[in-house]
């Protein structure tokens, strides 16, 4: 019998899971990762001779009408042109009836891998750049519904890209009932199955309560705001970064992640404004401070000029004293 090497064993294990791309212009190269809704593969677009990312959704499409609806949604997504939105190049179905998207292959790292060694300042600026495409999409009536660190990529040029737009919404339409992955909120989105002992408990979920309940009617822009709050919390409270988690940041997170959508920030702009004000040391909407705390902050912010004025006054006083002796 032909001996097969470890490399081939690994390859064949992958091959068994590959989608059937016969009849398309894509050549499968390998898999990149697996999410709750589908698997992303690296593929080559034969016609344009470039590498793309193919996201193939799990489970075949059955109804023609569902397919039509999905295509319509896909067109809307493709119309989201923003530097922070990964462009969708193509959409199609595999030979075994599964929907796939071809999108730009992002060579970078997902958020949770890319935040090592960043200062609080940098993290907050990064967060603002994450909010921008979300705000842009909201203005066009598109809700992401699946914002989490695994869906945010940092490209090689420092660009921030938000992936997997509205896919949750598409699948929800297809299934007609709930959002996929509407198991109890959990932090690790790659854990698709519940029986696995590695399911992490206690990590903040990125899914809003109304999403977890499967309550379609309640889902709107504020659902994304909840997720953004969770992302912010993630950014500033990794194990080594917990010192960044000040009461004011905590206040912003809590407001964004309020269980009742009416208590959250109304728009992404409002959230961004508070973060900017946080960066500038100004008072924020989410955390009204007692006067003493605010005074404390102001003093800290202007400590250099205050110090200088004090130095001046002391100098003058010393001169006066010495002059008298």
């Amino acid at each position: 019998m032909r001996p097969i090497s470890e490399t081939v064993v690994g390859r064949l294990r992958e091959v068994v899971t590959f989608p059937d791309l016969a009849g398309t212009k894509y050549e499968l190269l390998g898999s990149l990762g697996r999410g709750g809704m589908g698997t992303v593969y690296r593929a080559r677009d034969r016609e344009l001779d470039r590498e793309v990312a193919l996201k193939v959704l799990h489970g075949p499409l059955v109804e023609i009408s569902a397919r039509e609806r999905m295509l319509r949604e896909a067109r809307v997504l493709a119309s989201l042109e923003h530097p922070g939105v990964v462009p969708v190049h193509d959409v199609g179905t595999t030979a075994d009836g599964r929907l796939f998207y071809a999108m730009k292959l992002v060579r970078g790292s997902a958020l949770h891998q890319a935040i090592e060694g960043k200062s609080l300042n940098e993290l907050l600026q990064l967060f603002l750049r994450i909010c921008e495409p979300v705000a842009f999409a909201h203005a066009r009536g598109i809700i992401h519904r699946d914002l989490k660190p695994m869906n945010i990529m940092l490209g090689p040029f420092g660009e921030v890209l938000v992936m997997d737009w509205g896919i949750a919404k598409l699948l929800a339409i297809e299934e007609g009932t709930t959002c996929p992955g509407t198991q109890p909120p959990q932090g690790s989105p790659h854990q698709a199955d519940q029986t696995s002992p590695g399911t992490i408990l206690g990590t903040p979920g990125y899914m809003s309560p109304e999403q977890a309940r499967g309550d379609q009617t309640q889902i709107d822009a504020r659902t994304d705001i909840y997720s953004l709050g969770a992302v912010l919390q993630f950014l500033v409270s990794g194990s080594e970064l917990s010192r960044y988690y000040t009461p004011r940041i905590s206040g912003i997170c809590r407001k964004a992640m309020a269980p009742d959508p009416a208590h959250r920030y109304a728009t992404v702009s409002d959230l961004m404004t508070d973060v900017i004000r946080l960066l500038e040391g100004l008072p924020i909407a989410a955390y009204p401070e007692r006067l003493t705390r605010r005074a404390e902050r102001v003093l800290r912010k202007y400590r250099l000029p205050i110090g200088l004025v004090m130095a001046y006054v002391i100098t003058r006083a010393l001169i006066a004293l010495l002059g008298r002796t």
Partner: protein, 127 residues
């Protein structure tokens, strides 16, 4: 407001106070206070304008502070070198506060005011 104008105004403002503070630190100079204040104000305006002009050209807080200190000390030195009517020189009493105020104006002009027409100063965020 551009940086030189800002520096000029701030320097003048501080100069007035600096002059008036002579009443506290050296009460014996009270008779000449008007002259002192005028001189101090002019010193402040000149220093402030120069420091502000520097801040417009060079965007660096440490350098701005050093420049402010130098200008403050220098102008204060000239004033102190003139001496008062009785021929006494008050070097320390004039140069030290002058230097501190120079630092203050240096800091302020680096952080505030427009450096170029239309270009806002990027405020450095505090955590």
């Amino acid at each position: 407001m551009t940086k030189p104008i800002f520096g000029l105004l701030l320097g003048g403002f501080l100069g007035i106070f600096d002059g008036l503070s002579a009443l506290v630190s050296a009460p014996e100079t009270a008779p000449q206070i008007v002259g002192i204040v005028i001189g101090s104000t002019i010193k402040g305006i000149v220093a402030g304008a120069a420091i502000g002009w520097f801040a417009r050209k060079v965007n660096s807080l440490p350098l701005g502070i050093v420049f402010g200190l130098s200008v403050g000390l220098l102008l204060a030195f000239f004033v102190a070198a003139m001496g008062d009517q009785s021929g006494k020189h008050y070097y320390w009493e004039i140069m030290l506060p002058g230097g501190i105020l120079g630092i203050l104006v240096g800091y302020a002009t680096q952080r505030y005011g427009r450096s170029r027409a239309g270009a806002p100063v990027a405020a450095r965020p505090h955590s």
